[in-house]
Structure formats: C-alpha cells, structure tokens
Symmetry: C2
Subunit: 243 residues, 2 copies
Amino acid sequence: MAARTTKANPIPSVWARRAREADQPALSRAAIVREAVVMLDADGVEALSMRKLGARLNAGATSLYRHVATKDELMELAVDEVFGEIAVPAADGADWRAAATEAAQSFRATALRHRWLSSVLGQAGLAYLGPNLMSFSERLAALFADAGFPEPERAIETVLSYVIGMSTTEAAWLTTVARSGESEADFIARLMPAAQQAVADHEHLAEAYAAEVVDPVALRDDKFAYGLEVVLDGLALRRPKAS
Amino acid sequence: MAARTTKANPIPSVWARRAREADQPALSRAAIVREAVVMLDADGVEALSMRKLGARLNAGATSLYRHVATKDELMELAVDEVFGEIAVPAADGADWRAAATEAAQSFRATALRHRWLSSVLGQAGLAYLGPNLMSFSERLAALFADAGFPEPERAIETVLSYVIGMSTTEAAWLTTVARSGESEADFIARLMPAAQQAVADHEHLAEAYAAEVVDPVALRDDKFAYGLEVVLDGLALRRPKAS
DNA sequence: CTCTCGATGCGCACACTGTACGCAGGGGGG
DNA sequence: CCCCCCTGCGTACAGTGTGCGCATCGAGAG
C-alpha cells in the first residue's frame, strides 16, 4: 500500500505537509550543541547519549552525525560554547587586580553552573582552538599585558591553574552532593561521623574537621577568594612597576 | 559423557590438578587494583574495561565483582593506590618552602606518570576517604601547621588547587600528544601553522605564540616551578612569623 | 572417611552505548 | 522538466557494565 511513501505521509500533499519543519528549525550544529549543554547541565556527562540527545531534538540518533563528526567533537563544541559565558573585563590598565578577580570569579561561576566542564577539561585540556576559548585567552592576555607583566602567559597560566584546580574540586564535590539528593548542609551532616572516624588517628586532619560547617556556600566562596588573593599577591610581587 | 565435570577437567584427579592456582595468586582486590593501574597507565581511562581487565588476570569479567562492588569503586581504589606514590616530606619546621615544593613536585610527577588521574579527579574529586589520600592530606596538614600557618587547610587548598590545575592541564596535553604518536616537539611543530592561523587576529595571543619551542619538557618544568613560586610567595606573606 | 557449607569463579543475558552504512525523500540548479 | 545533492533515518555491529544462578573447591563438622 502506498508504494511511494515509506511511512511518514500516507497521502502526498495533505493538510500538514512538512508541518514539523515549520516549528522546529530542523537540525543544526548550533541547536545540537545548545541542547547537549542543557542535557549535560541537567544530568551530567554520563547521561548524555547520542540517542537521548537525538530524541530530545525529535531526531534519530544517527541524524546528528550529519552535523557533528563524533561525540568527542560534540563535547569540544559544548566546551567552547560554555567558555563563551565567561566574562573577562577589558583591560583598563588601572585596576588589574579587580579585573583579574572578576575574570576568575566568572570562570568559577561558569564551572559551577556547568559541573561537567571540569571533568571534560581533565580529559581534553585547553588544547581546543575554539573561537570562544580563543577570545577568552586573548582577553586574559590583554589584561595581564596591560597590567605591565613582562610575560603575561606565565601569569595567566598560574592564576588559571589555581582557578581550574579549585573549580574542579568544587564541581566534583557538588556533583557528589547532588547525587545524594540532599542539601549540601544535610549531606555534610550525614557525612561527618564517617569522616571523623576516618580521620581519627590523623591529628592535624582531625583538628581541621572539628569545626562545624554552618554555611557551606559562603565557606566555599571564602576559600576560593582566599586562594585567589594569595595567587594575586604572588603575582603582584612580580609586576615591574610595583617594586 | 562425564556428567560430573562441565568442561575444565575431562577426568578428575589427573596430572595437573589445579596447576593454574599454583602460579597465579588467584584473584584479590590488591591484584585487581594493581593491574587496573597498569592498564590505565598504558592505554588511558577509556581503554579499561572489566572484560579486558579480567582477561589480563586470567579471569572472567564478572569474577572481578567478587572483590570489587562496581567499576566506579575500582576507580576509587586506583586513585587511592597512586596517591600512595606521592611523597610529602615530614614537617621539620625549618624550611617549609622546600618541603612544600617537594610535595608539589611529587604530586605533579605522579599525575604525569598516571595521566588518567586528573580526569578521574575531575569526575569524583578528593571526596574519597581512602587511606593513602588520608595520610597524604595529614602529612600536608602537618607540614603547613608546623610552618606556623594559623589555618593550614587554607594554605593546603590553595597550593593543591594550583598543583591540580596545572597538572590536569599538562596531563591532558600530554595525552593529546601521546595519541598523535609523535614526540612532543614534532607534534608542536606540526600544530604551529594551524595554531598561528587560529590566533592571527588576536594580537596578544599571536605574540605569545610567536616564540619557538626548543625544549618542551624543560619549558613545562619551568612554568610549573614559576607558578608554584608565585603561590608560595603569596602564602609566605600570610605566615605570621614573616611579617 | 563423608557431608555440608561458604566463598569463589564464570557463562549467559540484558539494556545500553557510539557509530558505519546504505537507502529514501525533498529542495535547488541545469 | 529532470537530476543531484543534502539531510534524516533504520538497521546493524561490536562493545560496555553488571545481575543472576550454577559449578567448583577448600575447610571444618560429625
């Protein structure tokens, strides 16, 4: 029956001819990447499969491969996509510390908003050459060059390493918390007995674990800011004008 | 035919009864973890499967599950295993900078020797409570407490974040290089044209990419040492005795 | 000695993954 | 008008982690 059409339209030229294409902007690399980021944000890196992503876009899994060579390439694109969210202030020369702090905070916020980012970076690093990553680096370079650092890349790598390391640790922690389904404070409370026992015969650690955590979010904010100040102090010592 | 035995011994009580068990120490959690680390080192994190690991140990895939609850747990154990390789000097009070530097270098060396470490840390963080990770943390805490820092954890987290971030980036880069099959210098040489083109209209980046890389290994060593000095300088400013 | 029991290893099966391949259909250029 | 190329998809394959139940074996009880 109906030898011409395989299954979609029983009769050619009916009411809703290609109605789907009208409301869905078909399939495009941009739409795929956007939806992939949404899925990654929602359920983490192990929950993103080509089949599920295709289904979300009203498409078959293998259709995606017309726009994206491979899943790894998709991840590269997703990484570059979220790098576009990081705000690096333009170099205005005056207050490089404030600018660097703002950039670092923006990076951290992005990494915590997209908790899969760090783990993907760990597998592929910053070796990508995506446009957003490029302009991110360029703006950072401009900032530190403008501040008078003779080797801006060194400064960038130092502060970026700190920010990446701290954000990675935080993101991993928050992922663990999220998997438990509890609030961060509840999770900590439930974990405390086990942790204190594990730490019992390590005197310095026991001391560190003794304090009660009242506001975990503020505590993490503080830690990040503290370390950032340390790094920026160390860099300030190396800025020619200063000494 | 031989209704009793399914397939292994055609005749009971023959010459080589249980010969295999004699030379192979059976299967144990320790042996599994050890071999898993070997496989991870050799071919990276995506090449480790329970089937292949089982085969390497003359065992079936599912036999491993008698000793390890899940693959994730195996990875936790592997992480703790390699944390045992990191050498943190005992606190001797005098030269905390030298001790911290040694610990940081040892961490980096371990992370580069086991390049899968960073990517796993990105997925699970330092939330593990394994014994080696515990004593690693304890020794670090002792070191900084002995140096007179009032909040040793803050100092630890700062320097550790830097070290993790830098090591992660390096490990990811080295993994990319290794996949190409070329030496690091050759890979860089081959990449230069593409990189310089991608960087063409970013003036500060172009400047940074202009220099020729003659000894990539030494360059990476330098970068790491530079950033580490920056961080330690920043910490030194906060040590009570110093100011 | 026999009998039983707990620990260990393993084959099978299931649901799921990334992706190669070749076919169908529709829009744009000759 | 026809043709061709681009896009989407169904099928298929090799591989994954792991639950389940059975076979085996060493040790201890009678």
